[in-house]
Each structure stands twice: as structure tokens, then as C-alpha cells.
């Protein structure tokens, strides 16, 4: 049972109205959403199972406005939840009914494009793909490419440390963010990093990326862009068994080849996808593997035969090589539509995001199969095989009594298998609200305590996206660590203090 240490604050009867007026004073009438029906549009993100209506939603246009709003929240102890495009899959943007949502959607300018120095500076509401679009004509692109990149925002990418298909070779968001402007929960605006490298001091930037909105709100981001590769070659292979696809991945790595991306889908996903988008996937295959190689001509030309050799060695049923951009797009069409296609075979599905060491792929998949049979629920598997990031899709029907709960439990068991195999509970979707009950699978009390210590330097009042990531709320002792002495609330079993 989770209990909140912070008692719900006693507010005077018309506090809410006054607070709304104060927000309007900062943002103007059109910067604040009051009406219930409009607020509902913000009551969840792409994890639609949990919905909470916030008190207000605000849409600031500048860092100054964000700062003033947050300062007011700090002064009046009002929690807040930052929000980008709301495409998150872990409930990271789920509002709190005691606070507000701060939407960064209106801060959507590309501030600077500096090609010679390979930098782009953006506001948090800029979409991921529009960064690449802004530099594409110069032969550059922004490498982290989550599937939702047409819609998802850089601010959200920063909060979750988003990956994407090509992060195997090129890294995740944290490897491409060079500078941030952050508004701390008390309204202070700080800058960390910038267009140049190796600034002295701690790597605040590295901490804030992936912090899921718990350390403040990012209002400006300096990104690194890279040159498009000379050549891209995509291979498609099908296998009888998914273990063969997994062994191919290990084999390719063992040959010293690091592809730009490697993706696997199992038969359940193949069939759903083929029905939906007709990508030409063989519906009888146990699994398919996509391998994308990129780089200088000669490097790719040398890697191709190595990869083909590995695939044949694993008894690939067929190997196709995309002859042009159109074919390449078709190979990818299936993979990119894997999630939506599941909607055709199942009324509901619950996607998870566990990571495992690549070498344990076959074993973990076997275990997932066993669990699926144990629970009587189908699990489709599509994943970033190159970095071991699984996306098991637990299919269920919410209209059948108890099935939603079963699906949740099964998903939790799958995450347990991932952690037991030496992996992680989340590779890119974030912990959010969805997986906080599993965080202790990976981290013990000392680990969580240490992380909380660090958070207290940013957000001593615990107002920034509360109720996310960490299973139990923890307060911050004013002067840092003291000799251990139980607080009355601890004695009463109502909470923990660090």
C-alpha cells in the first residue's frame, strides 16, 4: 500500500479560483485551460488505462513564463506535470488531481541551426522529425528516431531518454544532447552544457536526460546532428524459429559488425502486420529479422557478406536485400506498424519495454512463451534485437472480467524475467506511473536512497511530476544526511525519510 507523506494541503475554499487567476495573470487568458471538457484532453498520455483530470493546464510560450508558473507552484506547494505531445507509453504525463499540467506544446520554435558546428538549438515542443527536416538538405540528420518521431517532442525525448531503431549504432538521446536550459522546481533557470564540449562542473545535462520530468522542466535544448551515412543497405531474413533470429543477432555481433539497426518480429506479429499493411512478410515464418547496415560504401560492402553468412548459418528460409529506397521502406513498413496492427487481432494490448543482454534472447523468449501459456494470454514479440530491447505485446480483452489484471500481472512477470537475466525494466519508454512498482526489482534501498539524495538537490518539495518513477514518496532532509533517527511518521508506518 502506498501512502503519501505529504498530507493533502488545506486550501481556503476559493483558492482554486484565485490560483487560476494568478496563472492567467502570468500567461494571459488563452494560456490557461479551465473548462472540464478541455481538461479531459490532457488526462492521460498514450497509456490510456489511467486518467486523472488536473486542476488546470497551462501553455507557456517562453522560459520566463515557465519559470514564473513554477515559482508560483513552489510558493503555494502546487505539484505540476510537464507534458510534450503526450505520446509516452509509461504514463509519465499522467496528471495529478492536486496540481496542474504544464504543456510545452507552444514552445515549438527551432531557435538556431548551425551546420558548420553541427548543432541545432530548439525549444522543447519541437517535434523530433522536424529537427531532421531542418537539416536534411545539408546532408545531416538528428539520429535518435523513436517510432513516434512525427509527433513526439524533443522535450519528451529528453525526459525519457528516447531511443529508436538506430540507437544501436548511434546512441540514445543522452548521447546527442549537448546543452540544456532547465527551469528548476523553484523557478530558477539554469544552463548546463551548450554548443561546446567539456564544460567544467558536474554533468547535470546527463542527469536531466531520462529524469522523466522529476528534476524540473527543460526549456531549451542544444542537440548534436550528424552526417547522413554514404550508404544504407537493408536485409530481410525469415526463420522457422525465433531462436534462430536471436542467434543471428549474436552471430553478427560476434563477427565484429555493428549494424545501424536490428529488429525481430515473431509469427503473431508477422501475421497481424501482414493482414494490416501487406508488407510482403511471409506469414508462415516463425520470425523475421531486419538488419540495416550503414556507413561508407566499402565498409557496408565488406559487412554484407559477413551478415549473409551468419543468416545462412542460422538456416534462414530466405534472405532479401532491398534494391532501392522504396523496397527498404516496404521492409520497414511492417515493423513500424507492428503496434497498431495488433489492434486488429486484439481489442486491447499492453506493450512492455524490458531489456535483456542480447546473448540471453533465446532463453528469455522461451520463458515468455511459457508465461504466456501459463496465463492463457497471447504475447506478440517485436523488438530492437540489436540492443536487447524487447517489446512484448500482451494481448487481452478488457471486457472479460479479470483479464486486464491478468495482463498486468503477466507483463510484470515478463519484466521480472528480464531483470533476472541481467537486464532492465525499461529501455526507452520510461518508468513513469506504469512501472514504478517494479523499480525495486533493479534497485535496492541504498540505490533508491542515493537517487533520492540527488533529487533533493533539485526538488526538495517533491513538486515536479510527483508519483512517477519511484514507488514511495520520500521527503528531503534539509541538511542532507544526518545520523539515523526515526521520524514520527516513520514510526507510525506512514512513510520513509531520507
Amino acid at each position: 500500500m502506498q501512502s503519501s507523506i505529504k498530507e493533502t494541503i488545506e486550501r481556503p475554499p476559493d483558492w482554486k479560483r484565485g490560483f487560476g487567476e494568478r496563472l492567467t495573470g502570468i500567461l494571459g487568458r488563452d494560456g490557461v485551460i479551465y473548462a472540464d471538457d478541455e481538461l479531459l484532453a490532457y488526462d492521460c498520455d498514450a497509456l490510456t488505462g489511467y486518467r486523472i483530470k488536473p486542476l488546470f493546464v497551462v501553455l507557456p510560450r517562453t522560459s520566463g513564463e515557465v519559470s514564473r508558473v513554477m515559482k508560483m507552484c513552489y510558493d503555494e506547494d502546487v505539484p505540476f506535470v510537464p507534458r510534450g505531445a503526450g505520446t509516452g507509453l509509461s504514463g509519465g504525463a499522467l496528471p495529478t488531481d492536486e496540481g496542474i499540467v504544464i504543456s510545452l506544446a507552444r514552445m515549438n520554435r527551432i531557435i538556431e541551426v548551425d551546420i558548420p558546428n553541427e548543432r541545432v538549438v530548439v525549444e522543447p515542443g519541437v517535434t523530433n522529425l522536424s529537427v531532421t527536416n531542418a537539416v536534411s538538405s545539408y546532408g545531416y540528420y538528428y539520429a535518435p528516431d523513436p517510432s513516434s518521431q512525427i509527433v513526439c517532442t524533443i522535450g519528451g525525448n529528453v525526459a525519457e531518454n528516447s531511443g529508436g531503431v538506430h540507437c544501436l549504432k548511434y546512441g540514445v538521446t543522452a548521447n546527442h544532447v549537448l546543452g540544456l536550459e532547465v527551469v528548476l522546481p523553484d523557478g530558477e533557470i539554469i544552463e548546463t552544457g551548450g554548443k561546446t564540449l567539456d564544460h567544467p562542473g558536474y554533468d547535470i545535462m546527463g542527469l536531466v536526460v531520462g529524469s522523466e520530468g522529476l528534476l524540473g522542466i527543460v526549456t531549451k535544448i542544444t542537440l548534436r546532428i550528424i552526417k547522413k551515412p554514404e550508404t544504407v543497405k537493408t536485409l530481410f531474413a525469415s526463420f522457422d524459429r525465433i531462436e534462430e533470429a536471436g542467434a543471428s543477432v549474436s552471430g553478427i555481433t560476434a563477427r565484429g559488425v555493428i549494424p545501424a539497426g536490428m529488429e525481430i518480429m515473431d509469427n503473431l506479429c508477422i501475421r497481424s502486420v501482414e493482414e494490416a499493411v501487406h508488407a510482403g512478410y511471409p506469414v508462415d515464418a516463425g520470425s523475421i529479422l531486419l538488419v540495416e547496415l550503414d556507413g561508407p560504401h566499402a565498409e557496408v560492402a565488406a559487412q554484407m557478406p559477413l551478415v549473409e553468412e551468419v543468416l545462412r548459418g542460422q538456416s534462414a528460409l530466405e534472405i532479401r536485400i532491398a534494391r532501392d529506397a522504396k523496397e527498404r521502406e516496404l521492409f520497414w513498413k511492417g515493423r513500424k506498424n507492428a503496434f497498431p496492427a495488433m489492434g486488429r487481432v486484439s481489442s486491447d494490448y499492453y506493450v512492455q519495454d524490458g531489456v535483456i543482454p542480447r546473448s540471453r534472447l533465446a532463453e528469455v523468449l522461451g520463458r515468455i512463451g511459457e508465461l504466456s501459456r501459463e496465463y492463457g494470454l497471447s504475447v506478440g514479440n517485436v523488438f530492437h534485437a540489436g540492443d536487447g530491447n524487447l517489446h512484448p505485446l500482451v494481448l487481452y480483452n478488457s471486457k472479460i472480467e479479470g483479464e486486464s489484471e491478468k495482463a498486468l500481472e503477466l507483463a510484470g512477470r515478463i519484466l521480472g524475467v528480464c531483470v533476472d537475466a541481467g537486464g532492465s525494466i525499461t529501455g526507452e519508454h520510461g518508468v513513469g506511473n506504469d512501472k514504478k512498482r517494479f523499480l525495486s526489482l533493479m534497485f535496492d534501498e541504498n540505490d533508491l536512497e542515493t537517487m533520492n539524495l540527488m533529487r533533493c538537490a533539485f526538488d526538495p518539495k517533491g513538486l515536479s511530476n510527483p508519483g512517477k518513477v519511484f514507488p514511495t514518496p520520500r521527503t528531503c532532509v534539509e541538511q542532507g544526511m544526518k545520523p539515523y533517527a526515526e521520524h514520527p511518521l516513520q514510526k507510525a508506518g506512514l512513510g520513509e525519510m531520507y
Partner: protein, 443 residues
């Protein structure tokens, strides 16, 4: 100076044979002239934890130490009661070659680690200085030290995926994970990389590896003018080439290195060194392209390989410490790629104005310039000030990595830390409320 009861307690934690109390022997562990009262050589993380608990209770300051190759970094410590060596924690704990991941204790010398990983034809692609002097994994992570290969692979900050550490109060914790893709919890490894032993003592690190490239070649070309060299840099960066290193050296350094290696005399020119590591065909193709671009800008080049190549890059990494002169200062400037020429021009002006001698090598694709300045005291101090002025006004930074004892106290080692300074101090205070870990060296 800690009381003898504390020293006895600390000695009993590691055993008498693993503690040094002799003041004469302790001289070599001094940090900027501050001699410790005791040096400890714990054998595992539990002993380190006990040491930190005792030190915390006593308010004794602690300086973590690997091989001590970088102990000149940072301000003079406010205290260095205890030098805590990680040297005995030097095992490789795991190497999952099919996952391209390894975990090792932080007292391991990078060279030993690379030998081990080389057995499976893999390596940790980080090439900082002092590796031959025994630089340890922990020290390299704590300073986020790097070399020319950062162009392709990033620094250890990009490669570190998990860690275990001991806090100032002795608490043991881990952060990150053992898989390359993980976003659970805060990215504590990134906080600790480059934290200079001020937040905790890193004892174990997990990092991603790369396959050892099949072949390596380096193309070196001298140019008539700085502009020609920089135009070549711009073309190389804007191309599709995948370069492992792109170094831009000032005439003084280029002349000294090439002459020292017998690669030719009269090479006192702005010089580029481009390293390509890949499959043979991709190396040959790309070297040809590099050569073509260089020639378009009037570059006269040669290609080196094998021992010559190894020796060359060793000199590039170690040059600030090769000078037979009395050291002045070793600096690292972080500027925009397009501002690197301005740093070179200023170095020239400073030479004329103050008579200093400057050797400099830029990681041209990163905007990082490593500078070694020699000369009389006042000129060196003034030069550092002017170089920092240029770097900071251009939105960058300049850090004094090392300076001789008569110069260092007059220098601002770090320069401005900007608007996040208050937050940095709060973080330090959260992890080390007693300010016992490397006190004063960062701020």
C-alpha cells in the same frame, strides 16, 4: 591532522601491511603539496565502505587515488588527510563478448583491461594520456579523460552504462545497469563521470565495448596556412567519411612531433592528422578521399601505419608532458569547431607578445584544444587569462589541467561554471555534507 585513534582505526580496517604512515613515504602521495597523514590500500568495496564511515565520523578528508596520474587536476585540496588507493581493486569481473559489455573494478589499469579485452578482439575505445603510466579505469571515469578517438566513440561518459560506488557516509550503491539500453531511474553513471572523486568513490564500472577495427592508417599533411588547414577540416567534417580521429596541430607541435619521429624536418606548419580504422577496403578508399581533399587545399601528406602510427598518436596524447622544459601550464579549451583557428591565432599572438612557447593540438571535430604553455611566470599567467577570455566569450570554456607549483595558485583552474553553480554545490552537499571527499578541488 587526524588523531592517532582515527589512524589506528583506519589501519585496522585494511591491516597494517596495507597502510602507510611514514611521512617520508607519504610525500609521493601529496596533492599540490598537501601531504596526507595516511595512505590506505583496501582490497574490496566493503573495506572502502568502512574507511569512509570512519572518515565521515572523524571529519577526515579523503583523496581517492588510482595511479595518481591526474592528481594535479583541480584546485589545491582544502585537506588530504587520507589517500585512499583503489589499486588492489583491479579485477575484470565480467566480459560478455557477445553483448559487447564488460564490468571491471576501477583500480584496474586501462592497459591491463585492454589486454584482457583484446583476447576477444574487443576494446574500450578511450585513449587518454598516461595510460602507459598506469592510468586506472576509475581515474579515467572520474576525470572523464579522453583522447583523439573521442571523435568517433565519445568519451568514457558515453561508454559507461553502470557503476557501483561508495558514498561519503560509507553507503554502497549502484546506478545504471549492465545493458546498453536502460532508462530506469536517474542516470547516476553520467553524474559520476567527470565528478573528480567529489561525490563518491567509484569502485566498479560497466561499459559498452567495440570490436577492434581490422586496419588502421593515419594520413598526415602540413599546410601553408592556418586557413588552408581549417578549410580542409571543414570539408572533412562535412563529408560522409567516418573518421576515428581528426587532429589539428599548431606548427610548433607538428614540427616537434614529426622531427622527433623522423617523419621529416621543416614540418613547422599547421598540420592535420586523420586516422581511419575500418576494414581494409574502407580504410584505403577513405584515405584516398582524405588525401584528395587535403591536396585541394595545398596539403602535402604522407601515410603512416603500424609502429610509426602508434608512436605518432602516443606523442599526440602525451605531448604536454614530454617537454624537457619546466612545465608552465597544460590547458584544455572547449570551443566551437569553427572557433579553433581563433585559439591558434591567439597562441601566435601570445608568443609574440609575451615570449611564451605554445604547443597545441585540437580535436578538430570536437572543438577541444589541448594546449601546453611554457615560459616565465607572468607571461604564462597572462596567457592563460587571455585564452580563457577568448574561450568563454565564444561560449566555451577553458580548464587548467595542470600547472607548475609556482604558477598554479595564481590561476583560476576552472573558470566560470555558469548559472548552475548553486545547483552543483547543492548536489555536492547532498552527497558529501561533511565535505570530506576531495574538498575544495572543484569548488
Amino acid at each position: 591532522m587526524p588523531e592517532s585513534s582515527i589512524l589506528n582505526e583506519l589501519t585496522s580496517i585494511v591491516g597494517g601491511e596495507n597502510a602507510v604512515l611514514d611521512p617520508e613515504l607519504l610525500q609521493s602521495s601529496a596533492v599540490d603539496g598537501v601531504v596526507p597523514a595516511i595512505a590506505l590500500y583496501p582490497e574490496n568495496i566493503e573495506q572502502i565502505s568502512e574507511i569512509m564511515k570512519a572518515a565521515s565520523r572523524a571529519g577526515a578528508s579523503v583523496v581517492p587515488r588510482g595511479s595518481g596520474t591526474k592528481r594535479g587536476i583541480g584546485n589545491k585540496p582544502l585537506g588530504a588527510d587520507i589517500v585512499l588507493s583503489t589499486g588492489r581493486l583491479n579485477r575484470v569481473i565480467a566480459h560478455e563478448s557477445s553483448d559487447l559489455v564488460a564490468t571491471a573494478e576501477c583500480g584496474i589499469a586501462l592497459s591491463d583491461l585492454q589486454s584482457y579485452l583484446g583476447g576477444k578482439n574487443q576494446f574500450l575505445p578511450v585513449d587518454p594520456p598516461h595510460v602507459r603510466s598506469g592510468a586506472t579505469l576509475g581515474g579515467i571515469i572520474a576525470t572523464n579523460d579522453s583522447g583523439p578517438l573521442r571523435l568517433r566513440y565519445g568519451t568514457s561518459r558515453e561508454l559507461l552504462i553502470g557503476m557501483k560506488a561508495v558514498r561519503a557516509d560509507g553507503g554502497i550503491f549502484k546506478g545504471g545497469s549492465k545493458v546498453v539500453k536502460n532508462v530506469a531511474g536517474y542516470d547516476m553513471p553520467k553524474l559520476f563521470a567527470g565528478s573528480l572523486g567529489t561525490l563518491g568513490i567509484i569502485t566498479e564500472a560497466t561499459f559498452r565495448l567495440y570490436p577492434v577495427p581490422e586496419m588502421s592508417r593515419t594520413y598526415i599533411a602540413g599546410f601553408e596556412s592556418l586557413d588552408n588547414a581549417h578549410d580542409t577540416v571543414r570539408s572533412l567534417i562535412n563529408s560522409n567519411l567516418v573518421l576515428n580521429a581528426l587532429e589539428h596541430m599548431n606548427p610548433a607541435l607538428a614540427g616537434s612531433i614529426t622531427e622527433g619521429l623522423g617523419l621529416g624536418s621543416d614540418c613547422n606548419r599547421y598540420t592535420l592528422a586523420v586516422r581511419i580504422m575500418n576494414v581494409p577496403r574502407a580504410v584505403e578508399d577513405q584515405v584516398k578521399t582524405v588525401s584528395g581533399i587535403s591536396q585541394e587545399n595545398g596539403g602535402k601528406g604522407l601515410i603512416i601505419e603500424a609502429q610509426n602510427e602508434e608512436a605518432f598518436w602516443h606523442e599526440v596524447r602525451e605531448f604536454p608532458w614530454r617537454s624537457s622544459e619546466q612545465a608552465g601550464a597544460v590547458l584544455k579549451a572547449g570551443v566551437l569547431i569553427s572557433d579553433v583557428p581563433r585559439v591558434f591565432i591567439l597562441l601566435d599572438e601570445l608568443s609574440d607578445k609575451y615570449g611564451i612557447r605554445a604547443h597545441a593540438s585540437a580535436r578538430a571535430g570536437n572543438g577541444i584544444v589541448i594546449i601546453s604553455i611554457n615560459g616565465d611566470r607572468e607571461p604564462v599567467i597572462n596567457s592563460v587569462r587571455e585564452l580563457r577570455g577568448l574561450s568563454e566569450s565564444a561560449g566555451g570554456s577553458l580548464v587548467v589541467r595542470e600547472a607548475s607549483p609556482d604558477i598554479k595558485p595564481a590561476l583560476d583552474v576552472w573558470g566560470g561554471m555558469g548559472s548552475s553553480l548553486g545547483l552543483l554545490k547543492r548536489i555536492k552537499s547532498a552527497f558529501d555534507p561533511g565535505n570530506i571527499l576531495n574538498p575544495g578541488r572543484l569548488f
